[in-house]
Symmetry: C2
Subunit: 412 residues, 2 copies
């Protein structure tokens, strides 16, 4: 029988009533003839409680013990979900990560899935079991210890199972009903997308649209897993939610699919640094070592052998960045006249695979912002994304104006 | 290095502060040079919460899923205890049942430990680990599924580890500071015993003294594990608590060690049953099938080929017992004139290994009750116990009078 993977996040299994509601969704798919693998998160709030206990006990905790404690939340949900399905006369059983086994690296608290041998679960499907309920977010290391995949890891668990079992689709049930053209809290014209390409979803996820964990999208893209995001709080049809899929399967043919934003950015400029080979390495090496996530980088045209170097990073990393630059200056690795930090900026991005083939996106974007009187501080582009840094106070205006300019409220 | 097993029950690990306090007790033993195996229960209240969720989800639950859910509480405590010990610079790690492995039968929710191969933990001790923190109450079945040992099972886990590792002693930390000559809530003359024999402890445990799980005492007796019960809420010396040990190690030489009671008993009498071979089997077979725990049995002298049969059972099983007897009568298996149930009785018992060698205990007991005007309804004796059924309203009086009569308030 074809296999379907269904993943339910913390709010979708927050209490016994919601677990029952989720189980009813599973029953619908079982009735269609699927063998279903259900991936569950911990009941919402539980993981935070466990993490709190660990942090209070040991501020610099042994990640192996953190994993042993924190993974217990998913085990509870898995057992309760299996029991709920059994009550509905659906043959089901729960699996903890080590029982499958979900084989991971030993990087505790941030492990990566290496393999999921399907034999054990497939044998049970062959015996008539219809639903395997698997505790998400966890696995087992080569040393036989429990690992976790990092926050949001249950999405990754779901995609990895879909790949390992060659599932027809991987449905991610969450508290939003899909991926939107922009944040509905910022623009009331935001429209749910029926489909979005993996690459677009990756850009949106990395820009802070918190629908899916970035790693799960990367994994889905690599193994070409059809990924659907949909709400567990609404009646669902087969076309509900947003399908994240291969570029060829995306019907829409517009240059821009969505407008993303990131509120807490900072812009830093090193004024008058020597324009010599190796200067970029001398600047960004120390920043990387200091744990600063540098995003955009701009180098001005050199004059008299000196140039200005501008980069952006999250606003809460500005202090670390300053310290790293001052250290590099003190040790003689780099030399600069001044370090200017602008901590009142935001990033707004237009994302769309259509950009590859359609020109004029950048021009439209810059003209729209200009018409609104918004000054652009930094520009960065990739094949399917154009990002600008602007003053934070214009962020919402910029998102709304760009959403209008690219006519994202209109369905194709 | 010699091994010590220390077990902390739910109230002893109820929150992070109490876990820290327990860890300090462990540190004291580590400093003495022991390699320590710590067995932990779930934080108090957690197991009840999990059991509640399972029962609400599925009244007739799959015990395999029950075990998967309910075992998670101990895993949390084990990780937190290991982290707490690490914070005190004591090399420690947690072990879940399947990691040790604690090999059990497949009787889910009531599994029995079959073997605990010590190799994995011993290898870590050899590498310098000083404390293995093991999640109590759980194990793994031959099928690789998680099992639990039934309520109070952590005591049994502790004793089984002490046997497997040939530990010097097994210390059970709980919320009482030892085993008393009787319930201090009933007699303010109750005295803590320094030592008690396994057999006496077994009788007391089966009579409702809730200090230790009966199975753990049986196991300790079989493997001659020195078992100490002591409070986790008091400063401890090496002589604290009560040592449960071999008969030869008990110094006290009195006929009676303790007075136990059981409040909720019922006495049932089948009036005028045929006195023929096989009649006992015909009566107690159906009772056993109905799940009635028959305790005392008395058969009167027969007259004219008929006799009265009296037995006792917990008062909440009277309805089941009646139904079983009426069914057996209806099917012709047995015949009786009348079934009388007296649901207002209590059982009071004097327990002591000294009875074996010292006579007059029964006489003292009967005279004491007679002097207080208490009528004895049923008498049952074993080698080290005399039990009587009396009207429930006299129970406290009987316990106090017997405690006085056997001078249990006096230390040897």
């Amino acid at each position: 029988m074809p296999v379907l993977v269904m993943k339910f996040g913390g709010t979708s299994v927050a209490n016994l009533d919601r677990i029952r509601r989720a189980a009813k969704r599973v029953a619908v798919e079982v009735a269609k003839g699927y063998d279903v693998i259900v991936i569950v998160s911990a009941m919402s709030g539980k993981t935070n409680e466990l993490v709190g206990w660990v942090s209070e006990t040991s501020p610099f905790f042994d990640a192996r013990e953190y994993d042993a404690v924190v993974s217990s939340g998913e085990n509870v949900t898995a057992g309760l979900m299996a029991l709920t399905l059994q009550e509905m006369d659906i043959p089901a059983r729960s699996w903890q990560g080590w029982q499958v086994p979900v084989q991971t690296t030993s990087a505790h608290a941030a492990a990566r899935i290496e393999d999921i041998p399907p034999a054990n679960i497939e044998a049970k499907f062959a015996e008539g079991m219809r639903v395997a309920v698997v505790a998400g977010f966890q696995g087992v290391s080569p040393e036989g210890r429990i690992t976790t995949l990092g926050r949001g890891g249950s999405d990754t668990t779901a995609v990895a199972f879909a790949a390992a079992f060659e599932a027809e689709r991987c449905d991610i049930y969450t508290d939003v009903d899909g991926v939107y053209t922009t944040d509905p809290r910022i623009s009331d014209k935001a429209r749910k997308l029926d489909r979005i390409a993996f690459e677009e979803m990756l850009e949106l996820a990395s820009l802070g649209a918190k629908v899916l964990q970035t790693r799960s999208v990367e994994l889905a893209m690599r193994y070409n897993v059809r990924l659907r995001v949909l709400s567990s709080f609404e009646e669902q049809s087969d076309e509900a939610g947003t399908l994240v899929c291969d570029e060829e399967d995306v019907m829409e043919n517009r240059p821009v699919s969505g407008i993303a934003y990131s509120r807490d950015e900072a812009k830093m400029t090193l004024v008058s640094v020597a324009d010599r080979p190796g200067i970029a390495a001398a600047i960004f090496g120390p920043l990387s070592e200091a744990g600063v996530n540098v995003d955009m980088i701009i180098q001005n045209i050199a004059e008299d052998g000196r140039t200005d170097m501008t980069f952006s990073c999250p606003v809460d990393q500005v202090a670390n960045a300053k310290k790293a630059m001052e250290g590099a200056k003190a040790s003689g690795e780099i030399n600069y006249h001044e370090l200017i930090a602008d901590t009142d900026v935001a990033k707004v991005s237009a994302v769309g695979i259509g950009m590859r083939s359609q020109s004029g996106v950048a021009a439209t974007m810059f003209k729209t912002l200009s018409d609104e009187g918004i000054n652009i501080k930094v520009i960065a582009t990739s094949e399917i994304k154009i990002s600008v840094l602007i003053d934070r106070k214009y962020m919402e205006l910029a998102v709304q104006a760009l959403h209008d300019a690219f006519e994202l409220e209109k369905a194709d």
